[in-house]
């Protein structure tokens, strides 16, 4: 399937994907895309530190996990990406539409056959543990309190409709 946020392919196994959505004037996302990445990644960095992982923004230099032309998200890095052990550890993408933003990120708990040589969270087996660390860091770092909730039936219906579009060959193969 193809995401509306663009970016490289992710093999969704043994990992946590998180999504944030809010208005573009929210303090986390206001201004240039690169600055919003720095802010979100600062939150994720705090969460990873709590899990015993010393991650930092990649900066100017490339990574050992960079592999050309595979189309995989974790094989392509930018200065704003979070890395540890000289390998990319968090894959992220954003969609900006009509004053709203959808940001998502992927954190691997272990390697997969398509994402070799990337950074993973060794010793953490439960994606829920990572989710709780991120939720906690949201509160401690950005003052954002997240409340548990379940999607309403209309939200589920909309998600199914959008999901059908995401696997439509016309959308997947466009460009």
């Amino acid at each position: 399937m193809r995401r509306i946020t663009g970016g490289g392919a992710i093999h969704h196994t043994n990992e946590l994907t998180f999504s944030l959505t809010t208005s573009l004037d929210h303090p986390l996302f206001a201004g240039p895309v690169s600055r919003s990445y720095e802010r979100v990644h600062e939150v994720v960095q705090v969460a990873l530190t709590e899990l015993g992982c010393e991650a930092s923004l990649r900066g100017a230099d490339g990574l050992r996990s960079d592999v050309e032309d595979t189309g995989m998200c974790f094989h392509h890095s930018t200065a704003m990406d979070l890395a540890w052990g000289e390998r990319k550890g968090v894959g992220s993408a954003q969609r900006r539409r009509r004053g709203r933003v959808l940001h998502h990120g992927s954190i691997k708990l272990g390697p997969s056959k398509y994402d070799t040589e990337i950074a993973t969270l060794e010793g953490v087996e439960d994606p829920g543990e990572v989710a709780r660390a991120i939720t906690g860091a949201m509160r401690s770092t950005a003052g954002i309190k997240l409340s548990p909730g379940v999607p309403s039936s209309s939200e589920r219906e909309l998600a199914e409709e959008l999901g059908a579009r995401a696997i439509d060959p016309a959308f997947v193969r466009r460009r």
Binding site: I4, T5, G6, G7, S19, L20, T21, T22, H26, P27, L28, A30, G31, P32, V33, S34, R35, Y37, E38, R39, E42, V43, H76, T78, M80, S92, A93, Q94, R95, R96, R97, R98, G99, R139, S140, T141, A142, G143, I144, K145, L146, S147, P148, G149, R174, R175
Partner: protein, 157 residues
Amino acid sequence: MRPDDRQYLPSHEWVKIEEETATIGITDFAVDELCSGNEGDLVYCDLPELGRVVEAGETFGEIESVKAVSDLNSPVAGEIVEVNPDIEDHLEILSDDPWDRGWLIRVKVGKGDGASLLDASAYEERRGAPRGQRRAADAPLLHMDPRGPQPRVLPAL
């Protein structure tokens, strides 16, 4: 000062109307937001088919950088009569010359409600000075906020 021979949408598209034809592009601010001065960060621009009819404010395409995808919105209603053939293979034009060579589409202006457009000074006021005249710093990182973390509740995800 940005060009005052055209009008702007708050979502960073510009439109220059000459007789019945509207030429539409995106501002230097939009390009900067997407790629922060690194023109290689723009990876793709999806532009519409000729003949498509758009409403004012309707999305006519999208532009993708290495880290984000953004909509392109039409400031006017009408039929798309021309698409810049150079953009797809030369996205650097958008960084080099967003006001002239970097135009995206031309629309034969039709009837319909117009979008709420800004003149150059109103756009400037909302978005700050053009590239080169702007301070590099913008909102501080959250941990640098002297007030400390500010409570803010997001809707349940």
